[in-house]
């Protein structure tokens, strides 16, 4: 049988992988208290989406998905950049990046 | 009258002026520097002119079956058509007169609000603008706008110049009535949108009336919408059990507020029931007739009984208004020409009488420092003229023949009796008649305890003085009118002559 078929990994695999990544990220956001870690978890979730895009792009033979991914990566980078800056700011103010300590604003 | 006919009235756009003048008055009163006398005179001037204009209007349209209307283009988009349609017929004419008159009386009467008098009178004029609008509007959008506009200044009057519990009372008044009017708004939406039938939403009364005549409203639709609208109006009237905002609002409101509230504002509800519910939703009215009658009787008796139990004179008067507005609804509920005619008559009568009563309460509260009946007593000795006015007002309110109240109540009861004979059930009239006894009971009892008997020692009567000139003028004029219309009721009946025919064309 031709190798092409052999190397063909079924798309479900990718979807499961991305779903798993997404959930990991999600759980991370919920359980972690350190702001930095939470940011990283969010990155995980974004990348899960990216994997989807790439996979679909590949299987649909369509470039748009990859373009989208590039955009997404750029956006993610910017988001992290801002995020780190904000967290630094917080650290200056409160000497901690633990989000559980940030409860001045409530009710 | 010659000079009147000589100056060509149609050239004078009276209808819009009736709306504009109060607004201008409010602005001027507000802008004037905070001087009690000037603001008061300004208010008197404006309301006086308004009254004069409305009388002029009355005279002008008397030849044309008391109907007049004007329309100015306002909003016409692809979806909406709302124009400044204003007009009067017999009923609204009377209400307009009543409004103009009572505002003038109030302006003459009130002098006690020393601080921020400019905003006080401005608010009164603003209320007048709202009320005028409600009674003149011929377009649902306009109608609802004024319906709400009348609310806000009253809220400020109560909250700003009211008694000790004014915060609670004003909030309750505002929210309660606002909720009601929003419910009513749904009804209006349904009316207009069903009438538009997929086309442009035309909010004018005519359009909806035409649709109703064309039979676009199915019976079930009518029943539902009637319910929605009726609730909104019932809270305003107010009917038991939707009345609890009223006693609080009245007890806390300044005298002027109470007079306008009870004298004209309550009428908005009954006016709207006739103007909208009956004219547009005849089948709904028929379906709800029994409910209305029951509610009316409950209101009449409940109000009367509640009066007996009250200790605060003003609260008693407030409940008496509930009872008397019950008579209005009773007249309406008969869905007969006579009933409606005299319901309107009763609205007018109650407007005059209750104003006297609230002014009297105001004087008591102001001169003796309390309105608590058990604390009062033997006032007639110190303030005979006041006692005279109080007695006159109470007798008028309990339907003494020769005064306006009697004619109205007699007519309403006659209409009710007529209706009952029609359905061969006679006993309900007993409740209505019983209320006459109760009314006489609580009024005479209140008089016995407050102005008769031995002079009270519970409060310091040393520097209590009698009615002063302002108050005397206002009260005197009102009492004179009460007697006049009681002796010559046809003056009002002529204005109303066309009304029921108009309505019965639909009902």
């Amino acid at each position: 049988m031709p190798r092409k078929v052999m190397t063909m990994i079924p798309i479900e695999m990718f979807l499961i992988l991305s779903a798993a990544l997404f959930c990991i990220g999600l759980v991370g956001v919920l359980v972690k208290t350190n702001g930095i870690v939470i940011l990283m978890c969010i990155e995980l979730m974004l990348n899960a989406a990216n994997i989807n895009f790439i996979a679909f792009a590949a299987y649909l033979g369509d470039a748009l998905g990859q373009v989208f991914v590039l955009m997404a990566i750029a956006v993610a980078a910017a988001e992290v950049g801002i995020g780190i800056a904000i967290l630094l700011n917080v650290y200056k103010a409160k000497k901690t990046t633990d989000v559980d300590d940030l409860t001045i604003l409530r009710w | 009258m010659d000079f009147l006919s000589s100056l060509s009235i149609p050239s004078l756009p009276i209808l819009p002026l009736l709306l504009i003048l109060p607004i201008l008055g409010a602005v001027f009163c507000f802008l004037i520097k905070n001087d009690r006398r000037h603001t008061r005179h300004m208010a008197i001037l404006f309301s006086g002119v308004t009254l004069a204009l409305s009388l002029l209007l009355l005279y002008d349209i008397s030849s044309r079956g008391y109907v007049e209307s004007e329309s100015y283009a306002w909003i016409n988009t692809a979806y909406l058509q709302m124009n400044l349609d204003i007009g009067v017929d017999g009923m609204s004419m009377l209400m307009v007169l009543l409004t103009a008159l009572l505002v003038l009386m109030v302006a003459i009467f009130s002098d006690t609000e020393s601080e921020r008098s400019n905003s006080f009178f401005a608010l009164i004029m603003a209320t007048q603008a709202g009320l005028m609008g409600v009674y003149l509007a011929q377009d649902y959008f306009l109608f609802f706008i004024f319906w709400e506009v009348a609310l806000i200044p009253m809220f400020f009057l109560i909250a700003g110049w009211g008694g000790p519990r004014r915060h609670y009372a004003s909030m309750k008044f505002l929210i309660y009535t606002h909720v009601a009017s929003m419910i009513m708004l749904i009804g209006i939406f349904m009316l207009v949108i069903t009438a538009a039938d997929g086309g442009v939403l035309n909010f004018s009364f005519e359009a909806v009336k035409a649709a109703s005549a064309a039979g676009l409203f199915t019976t079930t639709f009518q029943v539902v919408v009637f319910g929605l609208l009726f609730f909104g109006f019932a809270v305003k009237m107010p009917l038991v059990p939707f009345h609890t905002w009223l006693p609080d609002a009245h007890v806390e409101a300044p005298t002027a507020g109470s007079v306008l509230l009870a004298g004209v504002m309550l009428k908005m509800g009954s006016y709207a029931i006739i103007r909208i519910c009956l004219e547009v939703l005849p089948e709904g009215a028929i379906a709800w007739q029994t409910v209305m009658i029951v509610l009316a009787l409950v209101a009449i008796l409940y109000g009367a009984y509640a009066c007996i139990a009250q200790k605060d004179l003003k609260k008693m008067v407030a409940f008496s208004s509930i009872s008397h507005m019950g008579f209005v609804l009773l007249g309406i509920a008969t869905l007969s020409g006579i009933g409606i005619q005299f319901a309107i008559f009763q609205m007018f009568a109650h407007g005059l009488i209750t104003s006297v009563l609230f002014m009297v309460c105001g004087i008591v509260g102001h001169n003796t420092g309390t309105r608590d009946i058990p604390l009062l007593g033997g006032l007639a000795g110190k303030m005979p003229i006041f006692a005279g006015f109080m007695m006159f007002g109470f007798l008028a309110s309990l339907g003494l023949p020769g005064l306006i109240g009697f004619v109205a109540e007699f007519g309403v009861l006659m209409a009710f009796f007529d209706y009952l004979m029609g359905i061969d059930v006679l006993w309900p009239i007993v409740f209505a008649l019983a209320s006459l006894m109760l009314t006489a009971g609580y009024f005479t009892w209140a008089m016995q305890r407050s102005i008769f008997g031995k002079e009270t020692t519970k409060i310091d009567m040393s520097n209590v003085h009698d009615v002063n000139r302002r108050e005397g003028v206002a009260l005197g004029l009102l009492c004179a009118l009460i007697a006049l219309f009681g002796i010559m009721p046809w003056l009002i009946m002529d204005v109303l002559a066309e009304m029921p025919l108009v309505l019965l064309g639909v009902v």
């Binding site: 940030l102 | 006894m437 016995q448 009946m493």
Partner: protein, 673 residues
């Protein structure tokens, strides 16, 4: 006669003038009031003269009823204002205006000491009289009702005249106020009945004009049930106004007002209005014998009860008050009996004796009761007390008063050839009549007749008991400081009236016999004319055996009173066991009627009111406040969910997403609703 409407207008005008500028005029407006009533009296004379003599309407027995003025027209109902003059009207006009004239004159002297409040007094009595005259002249029931109610208010005002700053102190003023309230409310109860009657009649006839209602043709084509209902309800009004059983109890309390007011109420105006209404409504009432029976029975019971209450009362004025109630009972009873006869022997009936008797007695009663009250007034004026136990021996000090009062007493007791004698015996006979002519309810009337006889006895007794206690015996403390006879303005009217009290009975034989009659001829009603001849009536009374029975009873009553209270041969204490006897206390407590009224008003009025108030405060208002509290409470709890911890927010987002999935799944599963 077209100026007849001026008769009520004159006093009403006086009311306005006096009411506003009284203090600036002589006697606080007294002069004006007096003038107005004088005008009214003169006009009444002229009108009556015109009606009886020149117009010729009387001979044809028809009423003068010019086209009325349309007052209020609605639907297919028309309410009018107009005047209606027939012989009954004239009689009423004459005696009420005349007696009012006397009373006003008397007031000038009586109210001297009142100062500034005189204005109010004169204005109110003028209004009172105006209302009465208007009522008499009314051409329809609504007009009548309006004046009727006006009188109610006037009585309220006048009874409560001393409701503040009472000469006898605060307690008295409290009493006055409550008496006024009682009078107003009790009569109001009757008035409400009457109002209902108006509705019924208006619905049935589409009009309330007498010309319409008394037209046999109209009556024929109206459902008789409506008429019965209507007339019963009207009679309810009478019960209230004329203080009939069971609403009789306000009248004695009404004594709280000035004595002149009592005189006015009892003799000239208010209570007579009820009797007048019955007489006026004869054409309607006689449509049903049962109605008339009710009327008669109520009258008889009232007459008896009131008389018993008067037996042991110690207040000068109250005794008179009870006597009034009792006499009114007699009149009503007579009217009822007469009407019953007509109703039974339907169709053609020659002049109703009962009617004549009733109206005639009303007239005579007006004279002697006015006289009695004014005498009582002058006594009270002199001794400043009403308590019989504090008087005595006054006849030496006040000759005129005692003499005139004696005449009045004789007259009311029915002493031969005094006015009371004639009318009372006519009443008795008319009550006997149905039994004599063997009508169905004859036995009832026999019983009523018995009651009447006893009443006659009691009347004679208590009147003279009163007279003796006041004027004979040794003077008690109040009588000590009595300063002689009252001024001329007071005594002159007494003398004039006493003449009438003696002579007015004979009027029956000089024309009145033909004036105060009601007859049905060929289905047509006829007021006045066609009466029995004078000598027939004269001998009829004298030959009737019952006359002598009642006479004997009256005389024995007088004699008993003489023995008990003048000679002191029989000690009254033997009857009342020093006030311990049950009957005695029962009578002093007025059959516990006041308590009954109070209980009813307390339970039906105040009790329910308390309940309503409770419901209002807790149930209805409670609901409103409850809702608002619930909302703000939930708001409080919900804002606490905003913990401020970002991880919770994230959790909320995730959970929310899950929930959304579930919701959408449900929606999809159950077909988008």
């Amino acid at each position: 006669m077209e100026y007849a409407w001026l008769i009520p207008v004159a006093p009403l005008l006086a009311f306005v003038i006096v009411g506003f500028f009284g203090n600036k005029t002589k006697e606080g407006g007294g002069a004006i009031a007096l003038g107005s009533v004088l005008i009214a009296f003169v006009l009444s004379i002229l009108v009556s003269y015109e009606y009886f003599v020149t117009s010729g309407l009387f001979d044809s027995g028809e009423a003068y009823a010019p086209a009325p003025f349309q007052w209020l027209v609605f639907g297919d109902y028309a309410l009018n204002f107009g005047i209606y003059i027939d012989s009954l009207t004239c009689v009423m006009l004459l005696f009420s205006s005349f007696i009012s004239l006397m009373i006003f004159l008397y007031s000038i002297g009586y109210m001297k000491g009142e100062g500034a409040r005189k204005r109010r007094y004169y204005a109110e009595i003028a209004l009172f009289l105006g209302a009465m005259l208007g009522l008499i002249l009314s051409s329809n029931y609504l007009e009548m009702f309006i004046f009727w109610e006006l009188m109610g208010v006037c009585s309220y005002l006048l009874i409560g005249f001393w409701s503040y700053k009472h000469p006898e102190g605060d307690a008295a003023s409290e009493a006055a106020a409550s008496a006024a309230k009682k009078a107003f409310l009790v009569t109001r109860l009757g008035d409400v009945c009457m109002m209902a009657g108006l509705f019924v009649l208006l619905f049935a006839f589409k009009s309330l004009d007498f010309t319409t209602l008394f037209d046999p043709a109209e009556i024929a084509n109206v459902d008789s049930g409506m008429i019965i209902l209507g007339s019963l309800l009207l009679f309810g009004g009478v019960i209230g106004k004329s203080a009939q059983f069971p609403l009789q109890d306000w009248l004695p309390d009404a004594m709280a007002g000035p004595t002149t007011v009592s005189a006015l109420i009892h003799a000239a105006t208010m209570v007579k209005a009820g009797v007048y209404l019955v007489a006026r409504s004869y054409p309607l009432f006689i449509q049903s014998a049962d109605v008339m029976l009710v009327v008669a029975v109520i009258g008889g019971v009232t007459a008896f009860i009131a008389a018993t209450m008067a037996l042991n009362n110690m207040s000068l004025k109250r005794v008179l008050a009870y006597s009034t109630v009792s006499q009114l009972g007699l009149m009503i009873m007579a009217l009822g009996a007469g009407g019953y006869v007509i109703a039974m022997t339907a169709g053609d009936y020659h002049a109703s004796l009962g009617y004549t008797a009733g109206v005639f007695h009303m007239m005579n009663h007006a004279f002697f009761k006015a006289l009695l009250f004014m005498c009582a007034g002058s006594v009270i004026h002199a001794v400043a007390s009403e308590d019989l136990r504090q008087m005595g021996g006054l006849s030496r000090k006040m000759r005129i008063t005692s003499a005139t009062m004696f005449i009045g007493a004789l007259s009311i007791a029915g002493f031969p050839f005094f006015s009371g004698f004639w009318s009372k015996d006519l009443v008795f006979e008319s009550v006997m009549n149905p039994y004599a002519s063997g009508l169905p309810a004859g036995d009832i009337f026999l019983f009523l007749f018995a009651l009447a006889l006893i009443t006659a006895f009691m009347t004679a007794f208590y009147m003279f008991r009163m007279w003796y206690m006041t004027f004979k015996g040794k003077p008690k403390e109040a009588a000590e400081h009595c300063h002689g006879e009252s001024p001329k303005t007071m005594t002159v009217p007494l003398i004039i009236l006493s003449l009438f009290a003696v002579g007015s009975g004979f009027l029956l034989f000089v024309g009145l016999n033909d004036i105060i009659t009601f007859s049905v001829i060929g289905g047509e009603f006829m007021v006045g004319g066609n009466g029995k001849t004078a000598e027939y009536l004269f001998w009829h009374v004298l030959e009737n055996k019952w006359t002598y029975v009642s006479l004997a009873l009256s005389l024995s009553g007088i004699f008993l009173a003489y023995l008990m209270y003048s000679r002191r041969i029989i000690n009254p204490a033997r009857f009342n066991m020093g006030g311990r006897s049950g009957l005695y206390r029962f009578l002093t407590a007025r059959y516990y009627f006041p308590q009954l009224y109070d209980q009813i008003s307390l339970k039906l009025g105040y009790g329910v009111a308390k309940g309503v108030d409770y419901v209002d405060k807790n149930l209805i208002d409670g609901t409103v406040d409850g809702i608002s509290n619930a909302i703000s409470g939930s708001s409080d709890t919900m804002r606490k969910m905003q913990t401020g911890n970002v991880r919770n927010y994230a959790a909320i987002v995730i959970i929310g997403t899950m929930v959304l999935v579930a919701v959408l799944f449900i929606l999809v599963r159950f077909g988008g609703v």
